[in-house]
Amino acid sequence: MVLECKELRKKYLGKTVVDNVSFVLEEGSIYALLGQNGSGKTTLMKMITGLVKADQGEMTFQGEKLGVKAKEQIAYMPTEAYFYDYMKTKDVGKYYADFFEDFNKQHFDELLIQMDIHQKDRIKHLSSGQIAKLKLAVTLARNAKLYLLDEPLNGIDLLSRDIIITIILEASREDNMIVISSHLVEELEKIVDHIILLNKGRVSLVGEAEEIRETRGKSITDVYREVLA
């Protein structure tokens, strides 16, 4: 196992948002982190990246305590757009290249072409779909071990969605791991192989997608509805 989270907890102002969450992530897999808004998906991702400190629990990465060294191998794509309006898309690439040693400029350029976004486009002129694609491009252009993608499909039109899905599949390799958070389960049915389902801060289901379909004769979407009902 590459990432192990053990009994993670987080409270905000007395409210428990992540409650005794444990799971492991293995190489070569794409995970769906599913749950309603407010179920703790984003907090959990931020805990792994170190942006939020867990009140309790343990995280190990490749057998060692998750620390600075491990975090260099984790690429996180937050939900919010965090680019400055005055920037051009190529500036976003430069910005990332300055921050992250594993940033692959050539791969970034290729992804932009694939996404039909131009180097000279200004951030303030991009549509929300283009911003979503650009966020994904800078994240996946890093040569990381673990990619955490928070809601990459939220509010995206159909065509952009297809491109995003293709690009995520292309980024999946035998030696990396991708976690995609979403409340849109149906979109992820085909592309993930593992499910982590959160409900009110707790893990209510962990499993292999095909196995869930095979043993229950139900789609992940149906199982999701059942668990939350």
Binding site: T166, E170, E189
Partner: protein
């Protein structure tokens, strides 16, 4: 390809590939896409795609030549067998469905002979 989400994805893709083999779209002995290419073609998880090849090899539908890739079986018998098995599955579910609606064998035969000429619409 449209997927039904309550049936394992690998099962559905294998059926689709079998159809392509039976129709000759994937010719006998022909090279198949790599596991990665298959994942991108069907927009499915790469592990599902590797599993598809494992299952198909076990069934003798395809075989791997070391370093060259995966190829459709060269055995005509196998293709005939796949075709017959698929036909049987269709017929069985069709007959079950029609029985469920209370159709008799005669009514079924009659309907088929009419509808077949219309192209099965």
């Amino acid at each position: 390809m449209e997927f039904i989400n309550n049936v394992p994805i690998y099962v559905q893709v294998i059926d689709d590939i079998k159809r392509d083999i039976v129709n000759g779209i994937l010719p006998m002995g022909g090279k198949m896409p790599s596991s990665r290419e298959l994942a991108l073609k069907y927009k499915i998880n790469p592990n599902t795609s590797s599993r598809i090849y494992r299952e198909m090899e076990a069934e003798g539908i395809c075989f791997t030549k070391r370093g060259l890739g995966t190829f459709v079986t060269e055995d005509k018998e196998t293709v005939v067998r796949i075709r017959e098995k698929m036909a049987e599955d269709f017929i069985n579910s069709f007959i079950q469905g029609m029985k469920g609606l209370g159709f008799t064998r005669e009514e079924l035969n009659h309907l088929i002979s009419i509808k077949y000429g219309e192209g099965g619409a």
